[in-house]
């Protein structure tokens, strides 16, 4: 084997520079291929992570899973929604990745996208006159720009293969014109457009936790 190597090296030494360049280029390509194949181990130190249900490719989904944000009835919101006021939004964030993921910002839907009112905290029975076309309940600080980004007051780190219950304090807004039918109802907020998150070593946030955005 070593004899062969020596023989190859000798051959290289005898070849013109063009052939050497090809061999080196081929060697570099092999190196890059190895790096590409082993991306998971490197990228895991600091990956960007999106929400569940996104358009991740096959290669990505094999090594990273998007976060899932879901409605949760308990703990109940402390600050309730009244016309012209703001109230809390409660979520649970699931991270099925084998490493912590830190969220630093959320991207909101349009300020013209309304929540849907339900008669029960399980969000199973829609209130007829408090639908997403009528409720006048929106994300606070949402704008007429789809996906406007809002930095969290404090980054949230969800532990590996774990979940975190978060109350976004006063980040729902009820317009003064909201119909009477929306009183004492539970709201499924419009789906978030996205989050800014990255995976990597970090200390998980202890839940349940209060957080949110104020601009």
């Amino acid at each position: 084997m070593f004899g062969n190597v020596r023989h190859q090296n000798a051959a290289i030494a005898d070849k013109p520079a063009g052939g050497l360049a090809k061999r080196i280029a081929r060697g570099t390509g092999i190196t890059l291929a190895v790096l590409l194949a082993g991306t998971a181990s490197y990228a895991a130190t600091n990956w960007l992570v999106g929400l569940g249900g996104g358009s991740s490719g096959e290669g990505q989904s094999a090594s990273i899973t998007n976060l899932t944000i879901s409605a949760i009835a308990s703990p109940a919101a402390t600050n309730l929604l009244f016309p012209g006021g703001t109230g809390d939004v409660v979520v649970t964030i699931d991270n099925t990745n084998p490493y912590p993921v830190t969220i630093t910002a959320v991207q909101l839907p349009l300020s013209t996208t309304f929540a849907t009112g339900y008669a029960d905290s399980a969000l199973s029975s829609v209130v007829a006159l408090c639908t997403s076309g009528l409720s006048d309940v929106i994300w606070n600080y949402s704008t007429l720009t789809l996906g406007s980004s809002h930095t969290l007051n404090s980054p949230l780190t969800v532990g590996a293969n774990s979940n975190l219950v978060v109350t976004f304090t006063n980040d729902a807004s009820m317009l003064a014109t909201t119909p009477l039918a929306c009183k004492s109802t539970y709201f499924q907020m419009p789906a978030l457009i996205g989050i800014t998150a990255s995976g990597g070593a970090a200390t998980p946030t202890s839940g349940p936790v209060l957080d949110g955005w104020t601009t």
Partner: protein, 152 residues
Amino acid sequence: MRRRDRLILLVAALDAFLLSGGGNAWATTWNVGLASGSGSEAQGGGLPASAPSSPAAACTGVGTTVKVTWNAVTLPPHGNPVLSYSVFESTVSSSTGYTTVATGVVGTSWTSVPLLAGNYWFEVAAVFGTNWLGSNSAATGQRTVSSLLVCT
């Protein structure tokens, strides 16, 4: 140093760079997609918990106008609604025949327009926003405007 050796050293340096950190910088821009179908829950409050208390009506002494006053309602402990009041008037009795004579009243008093001859009673209700109308207060005492347009 021969040209071949320099090239080999260059490749080695490139390998070292990629292995030591180049891969990380490359991976930090790996965006995994956008949100779809996330869920979150908020909860709506109720109507004003109580009607304005101690409603009263008094002749102002200016023509036949009447000033209605009341005590403010207590706001919800965990909520920040836009609060105003609506005022209702009856010329029939203290318990029936009320119609709305003012909406969006900010504060705890309201003064009527000059009233015609007749008997008058007033009630007040708190409103959250424009549509969440609470229950009416008790009726104020009777005010009377005589045919001589004197308010008593």
